[in-house]
Symmetry: C2
Subunit: 204 residues, 2 copies
Amino acid sequence: MSTSYAPPVQRLVTELSKLPGIGNRTAQRLAFHILRTSPEDAVALAEAIREVKEKIGLCEVCFNLTDEARCRICQDPRRDQELICVVEEPSDVIPMERTHEYHGVYHVLGGALSPIDGVDPEDLKIAELLTRAASSQISVREVVLATNPTTTGEATALHIAEGLRQRAPQIKLTRLASGLPVGSDLEYADEVTLGKAFAGRRTV
Amino acid sequence: MSTSYAPPVQRLVTELSKLPGIGNRTAQRLAFHILRTSPEDAVALAEAIREVKEKIGLCEVCFNLTDEARCRICQDPRRDQELICVVEEPSDVIPMERTHEYHGVYHVLGGALSPIDGVDPEDLKIAELLTRAASSQISVREVVLATNPTTTGEATALHIAEGLRQRAPQIKLTRLASGLPVGSDLEYADEVTLGKAFAGRRTV
């Protein structure tokens, strides 16, 4: 067994290679880095992994990640509670926030509908969204269906739109605009994006 | 501060992005994976990181990584103790072992000489190699200088060769052959490699 590492090294390589996009080679490189790094840095990483699993849960209102019962966005009195942006994953909240254009609250579905992968409406926080939007406590004005512009994201948006139209027909439903990314070049745009950009053209 | 993650998530992203080749984006992706993964898998990773720092040290003979005083290669009675292969890093031992061509022992320097980066002979296990090779206990027959075929690797090999010629002139000193990688194409070979391959041509 001299062609393998000492058992603790091998275990670390195995655990690291379970991470997405980390193959065996990269896992080895990371393991050797951790071996070279200061004990403080290694413990800080191990501790951060433990802590995140212990302390982070889902917001009881919007299902975003939080270390409290309600996330900081839901708690913020300056946020417009009547405007809900529906996203697939917690990681989709950050790019929306970075625009500084959005001042409503969120609803994180936890994925997109994909029957082929066994993701059905019950697996996502769709029922919770319908209940939340139809609740008499807050009169929701608009729901932005900001699922990804992909097949599964579009299907999810359509499914939610149907549900909302039945349960709360007064709510305005919107979808993020599809079109050319800012700073891109027409020459390199794919035909679907360009088609959407043409269909959604604005008067100037 | 609603544009950032909950503090435990942010801490994990920060710690992950300290790893080599892991930028902020990748760190976020890994953090979200760890959040989604089972608590068992997350704890296993945290534990593997801790364990590797606690249990893994350097072999007292060859300075390879080991969880014992002497590494398994140095302990193996079938290995030829009179043949020492000198490599830069512990990660260089595994590819050598995979060849199944080498049955000697190793000496891991812990890097390569690089005055520009402040790596001097005292920072590497060079003195230990000279003492080991000149020791009267084992009559070392050959030292293979298997540092990388790079500027710093070549300089390190030359420096060690000088020291060994003074301290133990009877020892045969060799260097791994430079040439075309097996399965490669002449058309894509760089001129330095091709030059070395020509200079080292063999009669067939």
